[in-house]
Symmetry: C2
Subunit: 340 residues, 2 copies
DNA sequence: TTGTACGCGTTATCAA
DNA sequence: TTGATAACGCGTACAA
């Protein structure tokens, strides 16, 4: 740690060649003889050369990243955006520019394609896609691949085939497992439990259901139904009222919890409940003891991870995992304040 | 986000002055008229200037950080060191050097003072102290303060008076609270519970005791004793055998758990146990269901945070919190693998 | 008090 | 295929 780092200059001096040729060798560029490349690479290795990323980022051309976002930002999206902005903030000093491209209607294939084309026209070096998107996009993903524009997805990957660099996701299967384990810990033996999701069509929710029900077996808990709330508070409440009588434990795997939370405190003192994420309703119920725990999905981290992964691929040729899962974090009353 | 960042050059050009004077104004240096400073600072603000840290770190002199470590590394220390090294690795590109100073006997005031003096002789810009240390150090801390060498402590702060920049600690009080809450969730009502710590003299352990016992009251759990294991597996086991009969729940607030773990699985199926950190024994018991949860103290994060805080103070004049608490993370069986 | 010039480690451009 | 040189944004030493 004490001695100075080896620089390209040191290599050039040792070999008696110029800096330009060193750069070509180190970066796999053309216009250099095989012999020279070999010579440079071996001495670089011998001398323990490692590129200085800071200097590198100053010298190279600006990297431009295009981020496709929904034009009408939904509530949950603000957390994601916070993560994106935070990471772009950090990368600003690294000579990285971010360009946001709002999509009018994220359910329209035409809108999405149009926006992606605009992105490509602007010659961005990488693309970030942060919403569910329609299924007729195969063609445009082919085009992106042909133009070697790496694309990182947040969430759903269905319509992208395999033509994306990486996707950032909630570790949904594990969420289900953790919820089941927590219910196992705090509910009575052989308890009857249930799960509420938004929509079974959603891959993420299906994984939660799988993780949950598979773990239930191991813990000897009794599943009594999977219910879809369609993320509607009214529906959620009605479903809850219908089944709450024979319920010992409940995993609310979606953020639609407020309506249930209200009746929970007074009417169902013995019901054990695991929630998802942390909003005002969840926090209140945790404090009141009406909810035992919640699984914080850390959207902000998803956002910052997505940006970082894309940047590192472009700037440092680091190939990320095809699927990056963000592990949910366990929230209970006594660590609640660290999540707000 | 789209347009280019304002640089010192831009400010100089707009004002028709030189770069040197801009620098003096921005960095509170002498040899500049008040009027000029004012003029520069206001236009800098108007133009939205923000320093480019990357360029800054390349241009300035190397920052040298001294790290005092125990010569005989104890087991737990390797995790801390991992965090230190990781952060130094990251900062290497930022023109930061790290110099390790081993202390022969960390319980000897003379050894510690000698090492600190060596550190000062080398004109380090900041110091990191990562071990408990003796109590006769007030003088040397005064000297450090006089020489304006910022010092960050990891763990104990007793002998430093108030003469340190910041200290990084486990959030011990909260650990106690979280353990109590977890026992409340999984043990029966009015359960009798106990806590094992290493040593009551240790501030950190006292805080855990406080957090634990205070929370017990709120949850209606019955405390039946605080026990010191002196981090000795034998003692821990003996204590455990003595009281386990009348115990419903146990919080093992120190890493001394292996011996208890062995007898736990067969002999005490109904006892609820919360552990600290994750080693082989804890992992095995979590998998077997003999331990319900553990509180991961993230030593690695403590290490990296300490380095980062010290660096940011020196390089960016960012004054950190006097005490930085690392919140423990809840480990259960289904997220266990993410902690190893 | 202000200005000038050079250096940090790398990339990029153009000439040889 | 190779070399020389100018950037990138800032700090620093020294000259004016």
């Amino acid at each position: 740690m004490d001695q100075k780092r080896v620089t390209v200059k040191d290599i050039a001096a040792k070999l008696g060649v110029s800096l330009g040729i060193i750069n070509k060798a180190l970066n796999d560029k053309g216009g250099i003889s095989d012999e020279m490349r070999e010579r440079i690479l071996t001495t670089a290795r011998e001398m323990g050369y490692r590129v200085n990323k800071v200097a590198q980022s100053m010298a190279r051309n600006t990297i431009v990243l295009g981020v496709l976002v929904p034009a009408q930002e939904k509530d949950y999206f603000s957390f994601l955006k916070k993560g994106l902005d935070k990471e772009f903030e950090r990368l600003a000093d690294y000579n990285v520019q971010c360009r946001y491209y709002p999509i009018e209607n994220t359910y329209s294939a035409a809108d999405t394609i149009e926006t992606l084309k605009a992105c490509m026209n602007d010659k961005v070096h990488g693309i970030l896609l942060c919403e569910y998107f329609p299924s007729e996009l195969e063609k445009i993903f082919e085009e992106l691949e042909a133009q070697k524009i790496p694309t990182v997805l947040i969430g759903d990957t269905e319509s992208a085939g395999n033509r994306y660099l990486s996707s950032i996701q909630v570790d949904a299967y594990r969420s289900g497992q953790m919820a089941a384990e927590m219910l196992h810990l705090c509910a009575k033996k052989n308890a009857s439990v249930s799960i509420f999701v938004g929509n079974k069509d959603h891959v993420e929710h299906m994984q939660k259901i799988r993780g949950f029900t598979e773990s239930l077996k191991e813990y000897g808990l009794h599943p009594i139904g999977v219910y879809e709330t369609y993320d509607d508070e009214e529906i959620a409440l009605q479903l809850f009222r219908k089944i709450s009588g024979r319920l010992d434990g409940l995993y609310v795997a979606t953020s639609t919890f407020a309506s249930i939370g209200k009746v929970l405190q007074n009417e169902h003192p013995d019901l054990k409940v695991i929630c998802t994420d942390v909003d005002g309703a969840v926090a209140a119920c945790l404090k009141a003891g009406a909810v035992q725990a919640s699984l914080f999905q850390d959207l902000e981290k998803q956002g910052s991870t997505a940006v970082r992964v894309l940047y590192e691929y472009i700037a440092e040729k680091k190939t990320p995992e095809k699927t990056i899962c963000i592990t949910p974090r366990l929230v209970i009353e006594s660590n609640l304040d660290t999540f707000i």
